[in-house]
């Protein structure tokens, strides 16, 4: 994989938003051998629960939530084929191992930049668990969503590098 820890990437395409309550349900579905609300093969999950869309807008504020809360569920989803997750903050050892094992990625978006990130979302539709409100699963079409690679398939971790004072992010974008 060409993308490495520290790379800044502009993401375009389809991502699925899911956070705490949706993860609980999705992993329960996997355990029962039931299908997920979307085919996870090669897909991206964005840990995000938006504020409602004001009139004339696709979505409200849409920044990342704390990824650590999804750590308990994330390995099963990487196992099911998820290629990348987007959130904020560090991941557990188990998640980092799953990322290496499945040659996947963990990406961070800027926490608290909900209005700015909202502009990168061009389409949004609830596809499952509508009763969860902001925690429902949404299919989003994003354009140039700015993210930074935290964990890559080589086992590198950007937060750890930052702690060791060597977090110079790689300048190349794609």
């Amino acid at each position: 994989m060409s993308v490495r820890c520290g790379d800044r990437v502009l993401l375009s395409g389809v991502v699925f938003s899911a956070r705490d309550a949706a993860h609980k349900r999705m992993v329960a579905a996997l355990e029962c051998g039931e299908p997920l609300p979307f085919d996870p093969a090669g897909q991206v999950i964005y840990y995000m629960g938006p504020s409602p869309a004001p009139p004339g807008r696709v979505i409200g504020a849409a920044g990342p939530t704390t990824s650590a809360r999804m750590d308990v569920h994330a390995p099963a989803l990487y196992e099911a084929g998820i290629k990348a997750t987007i959130g904020k903050g560090p991941r557990s050892e188990a998640v980092r191992r799953a990322i290496v094992e499945h040659e996947a990625l963990y990406l961070a978006a800027i926490g608290g930049a909900g209005a700015l990130l909202s502009r990168c979302i061009k389409e949004a539709a609830v596809i499952a668990y509508a009763e969860l409100g902001p925690e429902a699963v949404r299919r989003l079409v994003v354009e140039n969503l700015p993210v930074i690679v935290v964990n890559d398939a080589h086992g590198d971790d950007l937060y750890e590098k930052a702690r060791q004072g060597q977090a110079g992010a790689r300048a190349d974008e794609e």
Partner: protein
Amino acid sequence: MESVSIVRAEDVSKAVGDLYREINTHLRPDVLEALNEALAREESESAREILAALLENQDISREDGIPLCQDTGLAVAFVSMGDQVVLEGGTLQEAVDEGVRNAVAEQPLRASTVTDPLERRNAGDNTPAIVHLEHVRGDRLVIRLMAKGGGAENMGRLCMLTPGEGREGVVRVVVETVRDAGANACPPVIVGVGLGGDFETAPLLAKSALFRDMGQRHPEPALAELEAEILAQVNALGIGPQGFGGRTTALAVLIEQAPCHIASLPVAVNLACHSHRHGSVTLKGEQKRLAD
């Protein structure tokens, strides 16, 4: 008492609703100033980029009428009620909840309250708000309101230290809390510290401390010095904006203290994210003379 000051519940609701919307879409002047100062101070490219994005985020929030952050927070109100104030037309909780409910529908803001911590059914309107009441002298009702996001709130801590651990213990607890919060609390954070009181007042002091304007030093020189010392140590951690390294892990450390038991030294730390959304409004009621 010769007169009372009548405040209508509907005026409280209106004031709370307006304030809740305002703080969710506008950064405070002291936060803007602190972020700009941090931008000038940072040398790392990623830290500078993130701080610039946070400043741009507030411009977009104003332009698009979209909240600064999707987590529009629980509404936490600290209310000071003058002893001459009579609230007419409802309880304080009812009046605050009505304002919160309206703001959530009108802005719109995110429904982030679940009615039961284990069943986790979304209330849909962010009620009930968290309301703390203090009874003071005077004819005014002062409402300080904070929109408190879950990411930073989750990283708070209460430690019941022993008196022997003293000032050194306090510094250690605060620095460790910020270190362990790392990127989760959305740094650069604002650090509220409550010293003293008891098991429940220390966290209240910590949250209450967060309402102070960051440009104001603590009036007690010893505490102002303690704030500066902790801030220096926190910023030496190198966590930086969003945890990707840098000089700015916190924008301010704000302490409030209260008397405590001879056996205790409670220390509470309440963290606020970089957008630190809060504000206040003062309601002066209609004066009515009491009959002789």
